[in-house]
Every structure is written in C-alpha cells, then in structure tokens.
C-alpha cells in the first residue's frame, strides 16, 4: 500500500518548516517519534499563555489562509462572536479538492501530530468547545492516520479532558466527506458536518464566525494554516513575520503539476522566489522539445496566464513593475498583481502538446460536475459552458462559441451564493479572453480531435 511516498531529495531552494520532517525516511507518524522531535512542547508553551497572547502571536505573525482566499487567520479569529455566549467550534478544512492541490495530503499522511498540535493551540486560543477535521473521502488512510494520532495524543493528555493539566478540555473528531468538492467551501462544509447536503449558505448573514456550525461561532481554517499556527507561537509572532516578505509572511507549500519534468510539492519562503524559479529551476522546466502554452497559477479556478503575457502596474511604494510569467513573485500578492490569484498554491503548467480548448473543456467538466445546484447561474452556466467546450473538443467548434462562452461566464460571477460561481466562471472568462485567436482557429479548422469525448492525449 502506497499512502504517500517520501521524497528524500529536497531542492536546495526549499525552506522547509511545515514539511521539515515529513520526508525523512526515519520519521514516522507515531507520537513517540513526534515527541522525540520536540512535539507538543509548543502546545505546553501556549497553555502557559493567556489565550489572547496566543492570538496576538498569530496576528503579529500575519499568517494568511493557505486554503484559497489568503485571509489573515488572526483577523478571522478576532471576528468570532463571543458575545453570543454560544459554544465556539473549530473546523480544519482537510477537503483538499481544488484541482492541482496536493500539499495537505503530505502533512496529514506524514506528520499528523503537527496538525493535531496546531489545532489544539488554535482551540485553546479561541476557547473552542469542540474541534473537527473534515477530511475528504478519497483519503481513507489519512483519516485512519489522524484518528490514530488523536487517540495517542488523548492518551498523553494533549486532546480531550484537562489538556496538559490546564483545566481546559476539547475533543477532536475526524469526520469524512463523500467525494463532493463543494464541501471544501466553508459553509458547504458546515452544512455537510451538520448531516445535510453540502449546500453553501449565503453571506451575509451566515458568516461562520457568527453563525457557523449549529448556528454557533465557528472557525474554518485549512490544514496548512493550522500548522503555521504552531510555528508562529513557537517562534513568536514577530520572529515568524520576518520569514518571507512583507504581508506575505512564512513559508508556503506549492503544488506543481502538469507538463514539467519534476512535478511535486515544494515548500518555499513566501515571496523569495518567482514562478520562473519554481517551474524551470526547481521543477526542472518543460519536457524536451516543448514550449510553454499556459500556466494556471493557483488551482484550476484561478485565471490562466498565456505564455508571453506581460503584467505591468505600480507597487505600493510607487515603483513600477513589468513582469513576464517567470518574474511573478511566488506569494499571495504577486499573482493577484498579475490578474490572477495564488489560490490554493497549485501551479499547473501546460505545454504546446495540447490544444487550449481541450484544457478548458477538462476544467469545465470538473466545475459542472461539482456545482451543488442551488443557484441557477452556477448550475446552468457551468453545465452550459461544459457542453459548449465538450462539443468544441469533439470537433464541432463554432466561431461564435467564443462570445457565447464569454457571455455565459460574465453572467455567473457575482450572482451566486458561494464562490463556486467565480470558480467555474474564471477559467472560461480568462481562457477566452487570453486565447481568443486559438478558440476561433479551432472553430475554423473544425479540427475534429474526433473521438466525441473530452480528452487531452
């Protein structure tokens, strides 16, 4: 059984903090191993502080969410509605399902106690009554590894009653999804955890910090984010904030996949490197004889970049930037300044061996499959875009498809309950904007790739 193979070759540019031990062949998932490496010392340190002090470290550290939106974790915790007097819940989002993303898998399968410790620190800091890990169904071994880790931590008094003798108690429950992407959206996740269909809730009023799980104040944070909490408290917020670059502190694990020689997960100091370094230097560049067609910079819902794109603008300090794809800083703000987003940190590289229409058809099939169906623009729009691009891929492209696709995309974003509306519209909107000529060319060639199916090779 292969759960998550160790990658022992670590690129010299990597700055491993979260994955420091994960790939060490002598490191295992037991609590003994974890404690030999200093495990649960930071939890003890946190329990000796006031919860507010712990929160302060997280705030000062400037930890931004690693799940997609990059929202500051400390700020999110501050929004918790404490006046209501209702119990507070903490949920770890371990649904990892944005196409291209495979970093949380490494943490959970190789270093589960790091997540458990991070969560118990977060629980103490926010006075959480009960904590949950919502893990996608497709990681059954991961769920068992986490359950085992929690039982070990409970036996040592780090989870459950009277944690570390502090008088504070909090249980931690592993809850499994059932193969629906929309459970990654935080309010869909909450509905799912309540035992219902994962229909996202509308915000306002259902911000989890006020009306979350069981209509109680709730924090939802990504796996990687919660691990960073441990390191921020360990180093102290101010020290942690020196890692990375301003407003983009710490390290980040990038998932690199697609047409590169060395795909994989790479933990890098935030903003100290560029997309060019990740793709060419660390990732080994393209396959021999190929040239770049496109880069999807932050999970398949992020807006695509076309090879040769230039991004120009003004920095905050007034200086100007003029970047190619290779120059975009690998952090939260870089891809945003280049018209896209870092999203879940999933970089997908596409070379000229495939047709861009087929790439969009593949992506559209995903989002059409995953729409929960509550909102008409998302349900109908995602399906319609999928049908058009599938037809194009099957050899019946029409010149007018480009404008039709653009108009459908434009009518979804901003008109739906949750951000799946944007997630399904952005690929189509950006692909047709950036590759208009290619879409029209495809139509003019009537290039039947001919199989009647959506496939790339």
């Amino acid at each position: 059984m292969i759960v998550a193979p160790k990658r022992t070759e670590i690129h010299p540019k990597e700055r491993r903090m979260i994955l420091k031990h994960a790939d060490d062949p002598n490191y295992d998932t037991s609590i003994d191993c974890y404690m030999r490496h200093g495990g649960y010392e930071v939890l003890k340190k946190a329990l000796a502080m006031k919860p507010e002090e712990v929160q302060d470290h997280v705030m000062k550290a400037g930890i931004r969410g690693r799940g997609g939106a990059g929202f500051p974790a400390g700020m999110k915790w501050k929004f918790l509605d404490r006046k209501s007097g209702k119990p507070i819940y903490l949920i770890c989002n371990a649904d990892e399902s944005e196409p291209g993303t495979f970093k949380d898998r490494q943490i959970m399968h190789k270093d589960p106690h790091q997540l458990v410790e991070g969560m118990m620190i977060a629980a103490w800091a926010t006075n959480t009554a009960k904590a949950f890990i919502y893990i996608r169904e497709e990681m059954p071994h991961g769920a068992l590894i986490l359950e085992q880790a929690i039982e070990e931590a409970r036996a040592k008094g780090f989870v459950g009653d009277n944690i570390g003798g502090s008088g504070y108690s909090c249980d931690l429950i592993v809850h499994r999804g059932a193969a629906a992407y929309i459970c990654g959206e935080e309010t869909g996740l909450i509905e799912s955890l309540e035992g219902k269909r994962a229909y996202p809730r509308i915000k306002p009023p259902y911000f989890p910090a006020a009306l979350g799980l069981y209509m109680c104040p709730t924090i939802v944070n990504n796996v990687e984010t919660l691990c960073h909490v441990k390191h921020a408290v360990d180093m102290g917020g101010d020290e942690y904030a020196k890692l990375g670059t301003p407003n983009n502190s710490g390290t980040r694990i990038w998932s690199l996949s697609g047409h590169v020689q060395r795909p994989g997960y790479y933990e890098l100091e935030n903003g100290k490197h560029t997309y060019g370094e990740l793709i060419y230097d660390i990732g080994g560049g393209l396959k021999p004889g190929r040239s770049l067609l496109a880069v999807i910079p932050g999970g398949s819902s992020s807006k695509v970049w076309r090879a040769g794109d230039r991004f120009k603008g003004k920095n905050r300090d007034g200086s100007e930037y003029d970047w190619g794809i290779e120059d975009v800083p690998l952090n939260f703000d870089g891809p945003a300044a280049a018209g896209s987003m870092s999203g879940s940190g999933a970089v997908i590289v596409v070379d000229d061996s495939v047709d861009i229409v087929d790439v969009l058809a593949n992506i559209n099939a995903f989002y059409a499959h995953e729409s929960c169906g509550q909102c008409t623009p998302c349900r109908e729009g995602s399906l319609w875009m999928k049908k058009i691009t599938s037809r194009m891929a099957a050899g019946q492209a029409r010149v007018e498809d480009v404008d039709l696709l653009a108009s459908i995309g434009d009518q979804i974003a901003g008109r739906t309950i949750c951000a799946h509306g944007e997630a399904c519209a952005w690929p189509t909107q950006s692909f047709v904007a950036k590759f208009r000529d290619k879409f029209i060319e495809r139509a003019q060639r009537q290039a039947a790739s001919g199989t009647g199916e959506t496939r790339l090779i």
């Binding site: 499994r176 994962a198 997908i348």
Partner: protein, 174 residues
Amino acid sequence: MAFEPSQPLREYTEKLIPRYPQKRSAIMMILHFIQREQGFISLEAQEWVAAQLDLQPIQVREVVTFYPFYREHPVGKKFIRVCRTLSCALNGGYKVCDKFLAEFDAKLGHTSPDGRVTVEFAECLASCGTAPVAMIDDDLYENLTEDKVKELCDRIKAEVPAETPAPAADTHHH
C-alpha cells in the same frame, strides 16, 4: 426485507452519536460504515439510519443521493476510480482509464461482465504531482502507465474470482 444491523455497526453507532453535539451530524460516518460492510446503502438501511438519528428517511436519502461516493446499488468486488482531472489528463489519465476498461471488458460507470470491478472516473484525487493516478478501493496508485495498469489488473484477476454480476446498475449519480 428489513435491515438487520450487524453487531459492529450497532456498537459503532452507539459510540459515535454522542461524540457529536447534534445527532444528525453522525449521518455521514454511519453511512460510510454501512457502505463498507454492505458495499452499498439500501433503502432499508437508510430507514434504519433515520431511526437512529430521529430523522425522516428522506433526510437520509437526500444525503445519500447528493454525495457521489454513496451508492444505492452494489458494485464490482473492486472499485476502481481513475482521476479524470487536468493534471492527470495532461499526463495520460484517459489512457489509463481505457486500459482498465479494456482489461475487464467494462464500460465506464458500470460493473464488468465478470463482476470483478466497477470502473469510474474520479475528480482530482489530490495527488496531481504523481499523475496519472487511480484508486482501487482504499489504495492510491501513482505514476500509472498502461503497463502498470496491466499488472494491477492481472493481480485483481488472480485474486478475485469471476462471477456473474447482479443486473448492471448505473453507478453514476450525475
């Protein structure tokens, strides 16, 4: 026929429910347990789950029918899911799927005539760095090639006896 819960299921359910602040939250984990035992979740089993959680059977069924993983019909003895999503497709995921289907003379989303396997497409399995990938029951297989698929299929053929499947039911929800 009424659903007879096994002893392990009874014990699991009894322990699980009080861990959640509200009973209803236990539904997905109970459904997982049942599907693992039975291979699918019958309407009778759904009624039983509803009774444990003080729900109406429809409230269980709306969950079963929403989530692609739950199924109301049996599948082949091995459940094969091949990732269809971009990074896998860019690296030959569709060919991998074709090979699984050809080896068992199966149709996508259906149980093979020998009853050994059901092959489905899955969406991104969060292992895109080792694309193309597939899951066989709980296990993930990475960096697949047609040759590796052939090996996996030969192993299944050696380990799992052939038998006529129940009348082929479409396993797809969508």
